[in-house]
């Protein structure tokens, strides 16, 4: 399969291969040297980061990942390109393709934008987040982060809490966790928790009650309240933190060694209390760190296959 459009089409073995490779890129745990190894497996290759939406961590970590592997990486943000001159998505991509990059890493606000392009372009596309659909490298780095702390995904109980309806992080994580036999509890305000999610993958359940969602979980994944994707006032904003904000009192309901995750950027005091975000249970910065290793593995897989 050229490119990486989503987690849903991948099978368990493919995901395991990527995670295994990513482990090889993690900085050694007990050494003084915390930097990533610099390799040259992608020397002479060129990747283009095309970001139609703002991003700090994803774009930067793809860039670092490419450079760590010796590839040339350039980044284009839509606001500073011909997109603002009215060029269509297809034309922009055709233009870039004519410059013969080896892969295009793309983030776009429209669900399916990379899928649409991949039907017309020969260049492999890596989906760095498409609208409210998927964000496959986020789910891969989340899996790697969980597996740094816990022996296996199978049998884990994972709560994903927040704006499920508009979350590409949730969708990719649901598919990945479900493929490995984890139990996924989705929780959020009812208007952001469509009942159809029960059927999106095996092992998924829904609740609007946060305490119920967190009871006995191994992993809590908080989602950012994405005001930019709210097309309407689907819930009373003033009540969000009261009913769906993660606070220390919730942590006691979970398993003793629960880990708290968040794809970032976090909104302190909106979906997560600072005491939780900065606590020992939080692995938020480990997620960021693993982002580089996972994206190195993905780039190698796409460019060397």
């Amino acid at each position: 399969m050229p490119g990486l459009l989503g987690i849903e089409p991948l099978d368990r073995a493919e995901i395991e291969t990527i995670l295994e490779r990513a482990r090889g890129f993690q900085p050694p745990r007990n050494s003084q040297d915390h930097s990533f190894k610099r390799l040259d497996s992608l020397r002479g290759r060129m990747v283009v980061n095309l970001f139609y939406e703002t991003s700090t961590r994803t774009r930067t970590s793809f860039e670092i990942a490419a450079k760590r592997l010796g590839a040339d990486a350039i980044s284009i943000t839509a606001s500073a390109s011909s997109v603002t001159k009215g060029e269509s998505l297809v034309d922009t991509l055709n233009t870039l393709t004519a410059m013969r990059p080896d892969a295009i890493i793309m983030r776009h606000a429209a669900s399916g934008a990379p899928h649409f392009l991949s039907r017309y372009l020969p260049t492999p596309i890596i989906n760095a987040g498409d609208g409210t659909h998927e964000h496959p490298t986020q789910a891969l780095l989340d899996a790697l982060t969980i597996l740094d702390r816990l022996p296996r995904l199978e049998g884990l109980r994972v709560a994903i809490i927040g704006d499920i309806a508009h979350s590409r992080v949730a969708r990719s994580n649901i598919h990945l966790l479900s493929k490995f036999g984890a139990e996924v509890v989705l929780c959020g305000p009812a208007p952001l928790l469509p009942p159809e999610f029960v059927r999106i993958a095996p092992g998924v359940s829904l609740t609007t009650n946060m305490r119920e969602a967190i009871r006995d979980v191994d992993v809590i994944m908080m989602l950012r309240v994405q005001l930019e994707r709210q097309h309407e006032a689907a819930f009373p904003a003033s009540e969000y933190f009261t009913f769906y904000g993660l606070r220390l009192e919730h942590i006691e309901l979970a398993k003793p060694d629960v880990i708290v995750m968040h794809p970032g950027p976090i909104n302190r005091g909106r979906e997560i209390a600072s005491e939780v975000a900065d606590s020992q249970r939080s692995v938020i910065l480990n997620q960021v760190e693993n982002g580089v290793a996972v994206r190195m593995a993905v780039l190698e897989r796409v460019l060397l296959n």
């Binding site: 269509s88 297809v90 669900s111 399916g112 934008a113 649409f116 998927e134 159809e196 999106i200 097309h231």
Partner: protein
């Protein structure tokens, strides 16, 4: 005087319940005689042995895009696509630029059709000025200029009071009011049917309820006003049920369905393929079968295509940016045979009724939709068994937005006769 005799076809005319091998003799644009072994000296002969001869098919819901969007379709190209689909009459929706909301635009369309069209073209006028949903359009003078119905198709009339006034006014002019039923607040921003697929693909959903609440409102208003009211492109199970109930209560209510709404469901869309994006959206399989059942039971009166051409560029975008609509004139008969007739859900005669007498009744066409002596010689000849493959790149339409490209059909139109002249025949 041009003369055409269609020999030995199986003539099926639901209006007169005729189903027999007959000759149809057309003289000077009108049907002169229907009978056996007719003498027709000096007439062009067409041997219809093994074929079905039906009244000319009427598509009461097409978008011809002229004036204003001639890069997508024109009255000329759309009419040729209609002929190639077996239609002899089409009604064009008013969402052109300018909108057909005045007798000037209506007359323009009528004149262009006279000059360019190979089939009969009947304009449908806007309900409100610029289809903005606020002020009533010049409905009476548009009727004088040739409109056969009113609709703000593409947009619903959201304001219930405006809809009430439109119904009252149209009733006095004996015009049916056609509504595109969609509560825009419920459907806002949606790109496909709200269900498992929209959730999976991360696309915003258009709930069936957005159609249902509008159908419910309109049925109450139709009851209040006594107007002739027609639901365009009905697609949801609940709406079909409500229309059936309204009919049982004796309201002057009718409805139409498109071939794609009884052929496809949301799950049939290849991910993010904009050739499957239309309004109303492809709904669940349960809705699609309710539409098929509604056509069989009489809850739905008409099959109409909602032929909605969009140029390639417009459909080559992010899914959420692509306009709604697909072309449908050339595949309507093939799909109806495949989905309804061959599986035995409706008889061939019933199918013909849905394309002829059904729309003729909704629109109040006296002579059309039937084969009668002295009536217009509009004839659709079908070959229910011919196998053929739809190649959208050879479409007569200017646009290519069809999900049925490459689809193989059993049965389709064979010959289209308008005013006694053969305007199209299958290769």
């Amino acid at each position: 005087m041009p003369k055409l005799v269609i020999r030995n076809g199986r003539v099926i005319d639901p209006a007169t319940k005729l189903d027999a091998i007959r000759d149809v003799f057309c003289v000077n644009g009108y049907v002169a005689e229907v009978g056996e072994k007719l003498r027709a000296t000096g007439a062009q002969e067409f041997d219809a042995t093994g074929l079905v001869v039906a009244p000319g098919f009427i598509d009461m819901h097409v978008h011809l895009r002229e004036p204003g969007f001639e890069y997508s379709e024109s009255i000329e190209s759309g009419s040729r696509a209609a002929a190639a689909g077996g239609f002899t009459s089409i009604c064009c929706m008013p969402n052109t630029s300018p909108v057909n909301d005045s007798p000037t635009v209506t007359s323009y369309i009528v004149d262009r059709a006279k000059r360019d069209a190979v089939v009969n073209v009947f304009p449908i006028g806007a309900i409100t000025k610029n289809s903005a949903g606020e002020e009533l359009a010049a409905i009476g003078s548009m009727k004088q200029a040739g409109i056969v119905a009113i609709s703000d198709d593409g947009k619903p009339v959201m304001n219930a009071r405006v809809m009430r006034r439109a119904m009252e006014f149209a009733k006095a002019f004996d015009l049916p009011v056609i509504n595109h039923c969609e509560d825009l607040h419920l459907s806002a921003g949606g790109d496909m049917h709200e269900g498992d697929m929209s959730v999976r693909l991360g696309l915003r959903g258009i709930p069936a309820a957005s159609e249902d609440v509008m159908v419910a409102r309109d049925l109450l208003l139709a009851e209040l006003t006594g107007a002739r009211y027609h639901v365009a492109h009905i697609s949801s199970r609940r709406s079909v049920e409500m229309v059936r109930e309204a009919k049982a209560r004796g309201l002057l209510v009718t409805s139409e369905a498109t071939p794609h709404h009884f052929t496809l469901a949301d799950a049939d869309m290849p991910p993010y393929d904009s050739n499957y994006k239309m309004k109303p959206p492809l709904r669940s399989t349960c809705d699609a079968s309710a539409v098929a059942e509604g056509l069989a039971s009489g809850a739905i009166d008409v099959i109409a295509t909602d032929h909605a051409p969009h140029s390639g560029n417009d459909k080559m975008q992010e899914f959420e940016k692509c306009p709604f609509g697909i072309i449908g004139l050339e595949t309507a008969i093939g799909l109806t045979l495949e989905r309804l007739v061959h599986p035995g859900k409706v008889s061939l005669a019933k199918m013909i009724e849905l394309f002829t007498l059904g729309p003729a009744k909704v629109l109040g066409f006296a002579g059309r939709g039937r084969i009668v002596t002295g009536g217009p010689a509009d004839i659709t000849i079908l070959d229910p068994e011919r196998t053929w493959t739809y190649d959208v790149n050879r479409s007569c339409s200017k646009s290519r937005n069809s999900p049925f490209d490459g689809h193989q059909f059993r049965g389709g139109p064979a010959v289209t006769v308008v005013s006694g002249e053969i305007v199209w025949r299958a290769q």
